[in-house]
Symmetry: C2
Subunit: 195 residues, 2 copies
Amino acid sequence: MKLLEDRIRRDGKVAPGNVLRVDSFINHQMDILFMEKLAEEIRRRFTDKPVDKILTIEASGIAIATLVAQKFGVPLVSAKKSKSSNLPDNIYTCSVKSYTHGNVNSVLVTQDYLKAGENVLIIDDFLAHGEALKGLINLVEQAGGTVVGAGIVVEKAYQRGADALRASGLQVESLARVASMDAETGTVEFIPDGT
Amino acid sequence: MKLLEDRIRRDGKVAPGNVLRVDSFINHQMDILFMEKLAEEIRRRFTDKPVDKILTIEASGIAIATLVAQKFGVPLVSAKKSKSSNLPDNIYTCSVKSYTHGNVNSVLVTQDYLKAGENVLIIDDFLAHGEALKGLINLVEQAGGTVVGAGIVVEKAYQRGADALRASGLQVESLARVASMDAETGTVEFIPDGT
């Protein structure tokens, strides 16, 4: 999506250690009117899919997921992260490794909020190694629901987190797919997608 | 706000230890179209105030704050929580005690995203002892900005967290003000506000 690629080139920051900061407009300070356009584009890419519910994971996915849920007119469920191993028993849970923070979180959703037969669209702000996305898919499967796809704002495509999921037939739509970054020059190259 | 009080009476759950759960429609599963009506009401109550920016705190305040920012057409800043004492130096930070989780978090905003002279409206899903709200006010004051008010979804008014702030002249608008709760009978009484 050219609109997003241009904004990343203008306001994104490439930091050492393969970090792309978009925290001036996506995930610390949020340009909500700009993000509304991203949400509309995600809605457009899943027009032909049945969507009963949006699923995201706290915290930085919640804003874009709220706007996508609004466009679809469906509820949003935000999976919680917990470091505790002492969890209640009425939940679906799995472990998700964070490469960014170098730790493992339990990710959980109360069983009342994911149901068998539901068509779930997963939304997140970032996709890198794909650990969070795989964890959320696991939770929907535990509940007996169907993941109809995943909508992502920024995919670090060179980390290949979505390759196996796409190969298995899942529709993963990323509005900007980073092919490479260079912290020294601050440049970001994208895989063109024609939108 | 009668719409919200009715929904809390229908779908809220009173749990032992003064806990009011609204996680079926506000902060785990989120009824986004319903929350849009809450955001419109918060917008209405601050019609006469200048608002340059919305400030909230992760994670459960982000969805309602996103919708309020959309109504005002302004950016949203979400303060981050950190347990680390090893924080970068380009931030505004303060300590916030959580009565719910029994711990103390550092709450922080990167200095680029709160500026001198800005008019900031603070949004959160819950207000109980008021610790989070006081922390966010502190961050805006560190930056040299002005807090024009606070919009809250549910205030546990009997815990009196907003009393001193209102007495000091701050406009704190809570869409439902809980006067008392009873975990045995599951009843919730509200302070009527005529909307």
